[in-house]
Amino acid sequence: MVALSLPSVLTGCERWPDALDPKAPEAHDIAWLIWTFTGLLGAIWLAVVIAMLIAIRGGRRVAPPAAGATPLDALALHPAGERSRTVIVGVLGGLTALTVLVLTGLSYATQRSLFAPRQEGLSILVTGKQWWWELQYEDADPSRIVETANEIHVPVNVPVTLKLEASDVIHSLWVPRLMGKEDLIPGRQNVKRVFVTQPGVYRGQCAEFCGQQHAHMGLLIVAEPMADFERWRDRQRAEAASPSSDEQQAGHDAFLKRSCVMCHQIRGTDAGGRSGPDLTHVGSRMTLAAGTLPLTRGSLAAWIVDPHGVKPGVDMPLTKLEPDELNAIAAYLESLK
């Protein structure tokens, strides 16, 4: 009873990375496969249980041994009974083999369509790093190349090709409502196709253990209509906004003076570090530190002052700042919409 009610309880959970709530054709295929497997195997399991219950309750009537019979007579073969049993076992065996073959075929066919090499539409280079995602929107025109991190914006109803690479260890990209898992492997490029049919924000996660902060390596896929996407892309291409208040100016100066500038890039300023996430438009993102914190001024300050309190082992170091610099840097970064 508990086992039977468990699936309905699980589907009742309205958490957002949900593989059973597909929003893309590929995720539909996978969800359909999950339901087919569950339904078919559940029905078989139920039939077996019922047959077993009948067998136990019904028992077998054994005739009392005839007078003068030896114990060996009980083991004597009865040709008619033997034949019917052989047929039953044979049919059940055949059905089992058929089930396995059909499910294997279904699984194989789905896999084949998932991993078919196709390259079309928008192409995004995704590089997995410990523990964040570097994104580069490719374009034949170099001035239209966009670099950002941890938040993949895609247009709806347009095929998007994700080129997956890694620069340190193996990662895996999984957005349960949109697609199956695909590994990001150092030294090679895997290609994954995403086709989102419904606008929305979808949460993804690294699905291959990649070190201490593997669990905090999330990302968002933001699907929006083409016009919105183009607007977003044009905004991301632009250089960073210049500081508009004294506090932001102080933050800008402190950013360039302190160790921030060694790793982070803010296009339009002298900050050109390439080993940390691009911060040119960090204020426009929804989350900070690869889906770990919501992006607010407070969490920016908390993250800068003690990244190891949030994500122990992360590469971002503790930076010695003057007290008034912290607030200013947080204000400046928040203003980079």
Binding site: D168, S259, D306, P312, G313, T319, K320
Partner: protein, 189 residues
């Protein structure tokens, strides 16, 4: 019976020894954010105008970094991230002097190297004070020492994350560093 329990005891001891070996070193991932940089009193040379050599007073902090595999591999990563290889290449030198030989213009002890990175040197070496946190300067300096075989191969970095023209520091043969001409003996050693 007796030999059986003896065997079990020996197996338990061996297992204990193996488990003990798992603990290689402590990683200090969260150094104090307010720790100020150490003031090492180093000399660039043993030459002195007077009868006694220059006075050297070091904190001894360097020994911890030179013995730590974690710190050196972090240093190796930062060496590339902060573009040290832009001038010094992978130790062979370019527009900056080579780091894998035995010639040290401003002293070869880890304190000397920390000072060189932190303060900068004439003719091109910039100062990284305030740009690179103190902890990371020490890690980079320990890695620089490992390039010329000056740290134990047990702790030297194990793996090249990117393409290098040489094997990892721990796999280079235990030969003395490449001869770089006149040797200024390291003053602190």
């Amino acid at each position: 019976m007796c030999s059986g329990s003896l065997k079990a005891l020996m197996a338990a001891c061996a297992m204990g020894a193996l488990l003990g070996a798992c603990q290689r070193e402590e990683r200090d991932q969260r150094p104090s954010p307010v720790a100020s940089e150490t003031r090492e009193q180093v000399a660039l040379t043993t030459n002195s105008a007077g009868p006694s050599p220059p006075e050297i007073r070091v904190s001894g902090k360097g020994a911890k970094y030179e013995a730590s595999a974690y710190d050196q591999s972090q240093g190796k990563k930062y060496y590339a991230w902060f573009n040290c290889n832009g001038c010094h290449s992978n130790g062979g030198g370019g527009s900056g002097p080579p780091l894998m030989d035995d010639r040290w213009i401003y002293g070869g002890s880890i304190e000397n190297i920390v000072q060189t990175i932190r303060e900068g040197r004439p003719n091109g070496m910039p100062s990284f004070r305030g740009k690179i946190p103190d902890e990371q300067i020490w890690q980079i300096a320990a890695y620089v020492r490992s390039m010329s075989g000056n740290t134990s191969s047990d702790s030297a970095p194990q793996r090249n994350d990117s393409m290098h023209p040489h094997p990892s520091e721990s796999r280079t043969p235990p030969s003395p560093p490449v001869n770089g001409g006149t040797v200024a003996p390291s003053p602190s050693r």
